[in-house]
């Protein structure tokens, strides 16, 4: 086939809503865009363990500890599914780690906020995982097969994350005055950063024709954000919590909630590396990697020793 017919073949597959698999021909742009998006997503899952990891040893009950541990373990799994999907596009795991540890790669800026109280475990599960689900569900049908399959697995597991978070909030909101205040305080701090998770407004970040066509992105940032606001406002009512936005009100005509202006200057600042925890998160991540080096080395040495012993035995026999 000529370059032209390769492209034609790829386009036809996309038009027929078929998946692209690792060995299929694909345009460079497609490959690059996917590597960037999938690896950033993987980094977010991995760094996303840190704010919650903080609370595993301080969970109020054994049940809560077991649940939080299971959730954080899931996030590690999500990172691994996604790294593997990215590897099928020809980038190595080490290259991706390099990009994360050197600060070259981005991860979701939400994880650069601190988790100050136990109620933050509730707010994070409810809002952050909730927003992630909304972003991720459309990706279960994305055009790149390994990515779509990883996302199906991820989305299946995410729903417990959001539910356990909401349950924490529910218990706190039905608890003592202090507990209720704690829930409201966590809500106040996580509400706006959660809205920022959907990315800059459409006017500044128009979906490129390709990302829609390739099913890498299906709804715009503003569409997803609106959807999130609409469902979350109703959920907050059940908790009896107040949305920290005086401009929030139902718009009959649009059939959606109107909400106040998002502080995009803050968002950009956190993305640039100046959020409250950017430095700490990256350092924790690098420390974990460096301190695990001896384990990786030992396992490699053990494996090669065993292999040569086996070979010697085979020769002797």
């Amino acid at each position: 086939m000529t370059q032209f017919s390769f492209q034609q073949h790829f386009d036809d597959k996309i038009d027929r809503d078929e998946t692209i698999e690792p060995k299929d021909w694909m345009p460079d742009d497609y490959r690059k865009t996917l590597i960037r998006q999938i690896s950033q997503h993987a980094h977010s899952e991995i760094v996303g363990m840190l704010p919650e990891g903080n609370w595993i040893s301080r969970a109020p009950t054994l049940r809560r500890k077991a649940v939080l541990l299971a959730k954080v373990q899931d996030e590690a799994g999500h990172g691994l599914y996604l790294y593997s999907a990215a590897e099928t596009l020809g980038i190595s795991r080490d290259e991706m780690y390099d990009q994360l540890h050197s600060g070259k790669a981005k991860y979701s800026s939400i994880f650069n906020y601190p988790t100050l109280t136990w109620a933050d475990m509730g707010a994070v599960g409810w809002l952050v995982d909730g927003a992630a689900i909304m972003n991720q569900v459309p990706l279960c049908r994305t055009s790149y097969g390994p990515y779509a399959r990883a996302m199906v697995r991820v989305c299946k597991e995410e729903s417990f994350h959001q539910r356990q978070g909401f349950e924490i909030m529910l218990n706190l909101s039905k608890g003592s005055e202090i507990q209720r205040k704690m829930a409201q305080d966590a809500f106040n701090r996580w509400w706006w950063p959660s809205l920022m998770m959907f990315g800059p407004p459409d006017a500044e970040s128009p979906n490129t024709e390709n990302s829609v066509r390739w099913r890498i992105k299906r709804l715009t940032n503003d569409e997803l954000r609106q959807k999130f606001v609409d469902v979350t406002v109703e959920q907050a009512k059940i908790l009896g919590l107040t949305i920290p936005d005086k401009d929030l009100k139902w718009n009959e005509e649009r059939g959606h909630f109107d909400f106040g202006a998002i502080d995009w200057a803050e968002f950009k600042n956190v993305v640039k590396g100046n959020g409250p925890c950017n430095k700490q998160r990256l350092e924790t991540r690098k420390k974990a990697w460096e301190e695990g080096q001896w384990v990786r080395d030992a396992a490699t040495a053990h494996a090669s020793k065993r292999k040569s012993r086996k070979e010697n035995e085979a020769k002797a026999a």
């Binding site: 799994g77 593997s84 590897e87 540890h101 065993r306």
Partner: protein, 101 residues
């Protein structure tokens, strides 16, 4: 590390993981992971792919031992089967009176 490189000189090999979801069913490809040897690959596969009782049996194969057909050749590869509909039972028209067939 001083040069700010995290590269592991010897990245663990990649393994493909196949899982039997319950007794009597085939093993199905679940995904891949890195591990130093097959035992670690099976243990990691348990943690990564069967946290919710998704499996009763795990196979791991080092990825570089898997050989795949060429997607560019699929036409010549699978075409010969497409005009042999007589390999399917519905190809044969039998009277309605014929039972249990």
């Amino acid at each position: 590390m001083s040069d700010n490189k995290t590269t592991n000189k010897s990245e663990w090999p990649l393994w493909e993981v196949f899982i039997r979801s319950k007794a009597g069913l085939d093993h199905k490809h679940a995904g891949s992971l890195h591990a130093a040897d097959f035992e670690m690959a099976i243990e990691n596969a348990r943690d990564v792919y069967t946290r919710r009782m998704e499996g009763v049996s795990i196979w791991v194969v080092e990825s570089n031992n898997i050989h795949a057909s060429d997607p560019g050749q699929s036409e010549s590869m699978y075409d010969p089967a497409s005009d042999k509909i007589y390999r399917h039972p519905t190809f044969y028209n039998l009277p309605d009176e014929v039972k249990y067939m």
